[in-house]
Structure formats: structure tokens, C-alpha cells
Symmetry: C2
Subunit: 406 residues, 2 copies
């Protein structure tokens, strides 16, 4: 297996100014990261290179667990900020290896060209999600030799696959002290804006039961699918709320995403399952969200089998919990956060907005660390075949974080 080395020659002289990012250096780092294939389960080569790169700098303590690499300053500052980015990407769709597109290249998306006129564009898998942000974090790790607060840099594996493989989750379980901090920034693409907190999510089956019979003698049975009509009626009657938390608006959702029932075309069905996804705002804990769905005293829990809802939206129905993940408050009332909000506003004119999907900010939130998403690139291009990152976003992200932490 070939090994790559991330070029550190630009950092040999100690004169790099964290407030004046060098576009060439940032572009080079981003290209080197993208050029190293790292679809989930194949992060090792890139993690090795990141580890070797970080170990070159005497102001950093470097730790590793699996393919997650952590580097931190230990300067005894009053505050510690965490900068976290995942190293893995979703699978390649004819978009590897990466390439630079010069301004005017017809391959550049119209929306990218319009937002970033005259800029070069890094084309290929991972540029947006999220090796551009990783490049900025590596640059900051190299140049912030005297940061205003202590910093922990986290480069982790397995973010794009099932939650149980997530490198950040494994570090949180094995070495929670490595993730100690006062505030965290995750480099998920936001176009360098702040997306704060995230909705929680739970998924559960609402189960109706009946009695099977031949459909020629339907009155001998009891139709479980017909009973599910009431479940769908309640979903249709439910009006999802928009909830303001720390000044940001979180839009909730309650939706059936799957339905199945019946044993045969001529058999009265004895069971029907409506799979429901509830996305709830960060003003609610999982317990509070469950109380709204099933009643406060309903003991339904993961792997706990069926349990009758004693109240809430699904009162009287049997519930089987399938998945639950907490929400995360945006944490923008924190002192460090409010400074970051100000720098973003100065550089981009943008105010923080709510993150709607579930992201790893919730993992930090669960560890007691407020967290936001801030990263280079248009989030709508993540996972697409024509993932494209304009170079200007790298400099912008580096300027914002350099101002904040330099």
C-alpha cells in the first residue's frame, strides 16, 4: 500500500500569520486530503498521514484511537475550544481523483460560479463534505502556535455510516477526557455560516393488532390495517411546531416513513406497522419528546418490545421504539460562541441559523459541550456527484477561525 505525506514545507519557517491565511497553502492542503481516497472503512491511510503531519509540531500533543487522530495544545488557557472534522467520505461516483477547475471552466456549476466569480474550484469527492474544512483545521493546527485559548483538533473516522461505527462516538466512550472542552465547532459544510444545534430524532413503530381470517369470511377476523386508519388520521391532524431556541428557529416534523401490513391477498391482516419519525426541537429532551408522543408514564424504550402509549399523540396504540437520538441546543449564549457569531457576521454578514438534520454536534451536546457547525462549502452539494468547493471558502473559513482563535 502506498503512503502519502501531507506537505508541511510551508510551515518550516515559524513566521506564518494565523490572521493572514495563504490561499496557495490552503488549496494545496485541501487537494492533498481529497486526493487520498478515504471512503468510510478506508480512512487508515489518510489518518496515518494526518497523524504524521500533526506530530511535526512541537506545540501539539497527538493521540490516536483507531483511525481517529486528536491533537491538542496544553497552554493552560482558561478556555478550550474543539475543532472537529471527519476524514471519511461517502462512496465515490465518478468523482475521484479530484481536480482543480479554472475560472470559466464549463464543468463549474452555475450556482458555484455565481456565488464565487473568478475563483478556482476544487472538484471531487469530499471537497465539500468535509476535507475543505479538514484542510483549514490542519492549517490552524500548524500556524496557531500561540492561540488565545487551548484548542483540541479532532480528525475522526466513520461519520458517513451507521452511528455505532462513528469514531467520535468511540473516543467519547473510551477516552471522554480527550473531548473535554467549553465549545466545539464541527466543520460540516455551512458556507462558513453558523448552523447551531440540531433537532433530535426518534423512530418508532405504531403497531395495530387484529385477528386473521379468510377474506371471504372477513367478519370472523379483525382487520389490523383498517385500525391503522386512526394512526394516519392522528398524523394528518398533527400540526408540527416551529420552536425558537436561543434565538434560532427549529422546525419539527412528525411523519410516517414506512407502512406495512398483511399476510396475503386473501387474508384479513392481523398486524400493521406504521413506522414514524419524530424530529423534535432542542427545547425537548428525549424523555419530553416521548411524553408528547406516548404519555409521560409510558415506559417504552429501545429494545424494550411493544408498549401501550398511555397518552400523547398515539394514546392507546402499541409502540415499539426503534431509534432515538437527542437534540442539541445551539449553545450560542456561551462567551466563545458569541465572539464567533460576531466574527462570522463581520466576514459574511450572516446570522446563525438552526441545523435541522441530526449531526455530531449532538454528541458534543451529550458530553456537555455546546457545539455548532461551521465549515467550507455549500451543504447542498454534499454527497452529490458534482461536489465542488470554491477556493474562496477555504480562505474565508481560515480568516474567521484565525480571527477568533489567533
Amino acid at each position: 500500500m502506498s503512503t502519502i505525506d501531507i506537505d508541511a514545507s510551508a510551515f518550516q519557517s515559524s513566521g506564518a500569520d494565523p490572521r493572514k491565511p495563504d490561499a496557495q497553502v490552503l488549496n494545496s492542503l485541501a487537494m492533498q486530503l481529497c486526493a487520498c481516497y478515504s471512503v468510510s472503512d478506508s480512512e487508515k491511510e489518510l489518518a496515518d498521514a494526518v497523524e504524521r503531519f500533526l506530530k511535526r509540531f512541537g506545540h501539539l500533543e497527538v493521540m490516536r484511537q483507531g483511525d481517529t487522530v486528536i491533537a491538542r495544545t496544553n497552554m493552560g488557557r482558561a478556555t478550550r475550544v474543539i475543532l472537529a472534522g471527519h476524514l471519511d467520505t461517502v462512496p465515490v461516483i465518478d468523482n475521484f481523483p479530484p481536480a482543480w477547475l479554472e475560472p470559466g471552466d464549463a464543468t463549474i456549476r452555475e450556482d458555484v460560479a455565481a456565488a464565487h466569480p473568478g475563483e478556482r474550484v476544487l472538484w471531487g469527492r469530499g471537497g465539500v463534505d468535509m476535507k475543505g474544512s479538514d484542510a483549514v483545521f490542519l492549517w490552524l493546527a500548524a500556524v496557531l502556535t500561540q492561540p488565545a485559548c487551548d484548542i483540541t483538533y479532532v480528525f475522526y473516522d466513520h461519520e458517513e455510516v451507521s452511528a455505532d461505527k462513528n469514531g467520535l462516538g468511540k473516543v467519547a466512550a473510551a477516552h471522554p477526557q480527550w473531548l473535554d472542552g467549553d465549545f466545539a465547532v464541527i466543520g460540516e459544510p455551512t458556507g462558513c455560516g453558523i448552523e447551531g444545534g440540531c433537532n433530535g430524532t426518534m423512530r418508532f413503530d405504531v403497531v395495530t393488532h387484529g385477528v386473521a381470517a379468510h377474506s371471504a369470511r372477513a367478519w370472523m377476523g379483525d382487520n389490523a390495517i383498517h385500525k391503522a386508519g386512526e394512526v394516519l388520521d392522528r398524523l394528518n391532524a398533527y400540526e408540527p411546531a416551529t420552536v425558537e431556541v436561543d434565538g434560532l428557529e427549529y422546525r419539527e416534523g412528525l411523519n410516517a416513513t414506512l407502512i406495512s401490513g398483511g399476510k396475503g391477498t386473501n387474508v384479513i391482516p392481523d398486524e400493521c406497522r406504521v413506522h414514524v419519525n419524530y424530529r423534535f426541537a432542542p427545547d425537548k429532551s428525549i424523555a419530553q419528546a416521548k411524553a408528547l408522543m406516548f404519555g409521560a408514564d409510558c415506559p417504552v424504550k429501545l429494545d424494550g418490545g411493544e408498549c401501550q402509549a398511555t397518552g400523547g399523540v398515539f394514546e392507546g396504540f402499541d409502540i415499539e421504539m426503534k431509534d432515538e437520538s437527542p437534540s442539541a441546543r445551539p449553545g450560542l449564549t456561551d462567551l466563545q460562541a458569541s465572539k464567533l457569531v460576531r466574527f462570522v457576521k463581520e466576514r459574511t454578514g450572516r446570522d446563525p441559523v438552526a441545523k435541522l438534520g441530526w449531526t455530531d454536534v449532538a454528541r458534543f451536546s451529550a458530553l456537555g459541550v455546546p457545539a455548532v457547525n461551521l465549515g467550507a462549502g455549500d451543504p447542498l452539494l454534499a454527497h452529490k456527484a458534482d461536489e465542488q468547493l470554491a477556493e474562496g471558502d477555504l480562505v474565508l473559513m481560515a480568516q474567521i477561525l484565525g480571527d477568533w482563535l489567533g
Copy 2:
């Protein structure tokens, strides 16, 4: 492959009296038929044996198509009656080969022992559905050398599997004249009562459409499962009728038997299908039943794809027709039928009742031949692992049909 021969020694002397059935002879025939394995697709050995048996009798003309054997008298009578029984059985469930259970045997079901005290019981696959009736038909074919009307005996294959394999259907398509007649009796188990006509049945998907989206941004999509709530509401609001036809009561039914929808746990579903089974009484043609469901001018048809209902129960929804089979009127107003009704009443005290499931009487009905079910054995024991036929039913069935046709 071994071949079996059905014992015809009892019929060597021409003195057998069709009005005085010999229990031993009937029992022996039933046991021989049951002892020949004939699960659907494996009827050939039994069909061969039946064909050889029937060809021994000079008063019968024997025809064959596939594994369907037909024998008929050609005496120039004014009326022709058809007696039809299928030779195949559903799969064996540890109930082959068959055995005789003596009175008092603990293996005899309580309900059978109570209804037939002191009788021997034929245990095993096919006894009830419907080799007992087949044995009586073979006996009649042998002894009715001078019947009151001409008789066509039909022993057919593939009744217990999908309709396109049905031997009776294949004869109806290839040689419809072989099934000419004025009235038909099918030996489906009825405990020797008359079950007349049958409900029609149609199955169709009611399809709702939406727009897929990530469930974290549900408002970008349009939930097709939620729309199916209205379909289930209409099914719940529908009150199935009980319809009297020719003096018999037919109970209708309208039921969802399957439901499916959704593409993933986190995706707003873009399609949902509710599979509905409508069982309609013999006062309605298929076209009339469709009009009630979808509106009189809705052109929905088999293999015709989706079609919007213009009226009826499912007005406004997209429909895809999956299966349709006509109902059959009981045909009890016919002269031959009314005689049979009288003989059954004399021997059993029972009046005709409606057949609710769909049976091959509808095939005869479609050929213009009124038909009823009348056969040996308790219909509730058909297809069960402990299929049991009390010997008395064989004699009773033979007496009724012997009186009627002798």
C-alpha cells in the same frame, strides 16, 4: 413409477342398485383415492387410474385433457347433469398415507365423533377436500347404467393452485362442449348440504402518490402514506351489505388485506399501496361491482395500469386492478336443482345456504351452467392437518345423488 389400479371387482355383476349404496365399496374407493398421493402438479398417477377405471364401463364415453378425465353417458336424455370433483390436494402435513380410525379412537376429532357417533373415520390428506366426493362420483359412474338424465363426470387437476393452472378452466377453454349441461354439482365438502352460487371477488391496489424528501425537511416533500389515511377512513366507513339472491343470503366484504409504502426510515414516502379485496354478491356483475368501487365510467381493467376512480367508494384515488372473478347465482330455480334441494332436505333436514368463498361453480356459471356445491365432509376440516371424513357422509352423499339421478 408405480401405478395403481382402482378396484372395480364390486361392479363386475351388473346388479348394483344405485339407490342402495354399499358402504364397504364406497369406503374402499375413498381409501384407494386417498392412498394415491396427488398434491397439485402430481395428479398424473391418480388421473391415469381414474381413466382406466372409467374405461371399464361400456355405458361411458371417456375423454382426457392433461390430467383432467371426463366420462359421460350419451343416452339422449332431455337433461344433462355434470358432477365434478378435483383430484388434487393441498400439500401434505404429516397426514399421508391415510388410515381408517375405528369408533372410539382417540385420534378422532371430538366434533367429528359427536356428529357421527359409532362411525369409522377416514383420516388423511384429501379425505374431505375432496376425494370422498370423488369416490361417490366414481361409484355413481359405475352403477348408474340407466340414469334418469345424461351425466357428465369430471375429475380435474390443479384446483388448489393458481387459477391459470386449473384443469376445469383448461377444458372450458379447449373443449367447452365437453362441459355442456343443464346443471352442475361440484363435490366441494358441504357435509352433504347444498351451498349455492358464490360471491364474486376482485382485488386492486389503491395507490397514493407523494414527493420524496429527507424526513428532517419533511415540508420539502409530500407524504403518500399520510394520504392513505383517507383510503382507510373510507374502508372503515363502508358498511358491507348482506344480499339475498334466489332466497339465499350472501354476505359481502370490503377489506384492505395488504398495505405497503415508504423507501427508508428517514425518507418522506412518495408512494403507498393499499391492496383491497372486494367480495360481492351474485346480484352484481363484475362491471356493476367496479361501478360501486370506482364509478361507472372508470375504465380500470386488469393489466391496464393505474386509473383514477371517477366515483364510487374510492373516488379520486388511483386504482390498479390485480384480479377479478365473477360471482355465480345459486341457480336453484332450475327444475333439476329444485329436485335436488328436495332430496337433500329429506335426507338431511337442511335447506340450501349461500357459498361465500369463490369456487369453481363460478366457472360453470360463466359457461351458462347453473351449479352448486354438494360434497362429503365438514368444510371446516379442508386443508387442515387432521382432515377427517366420517364414513356415513359417503353413504349419505351417494343416497342423495342416487335418489336424484337413479
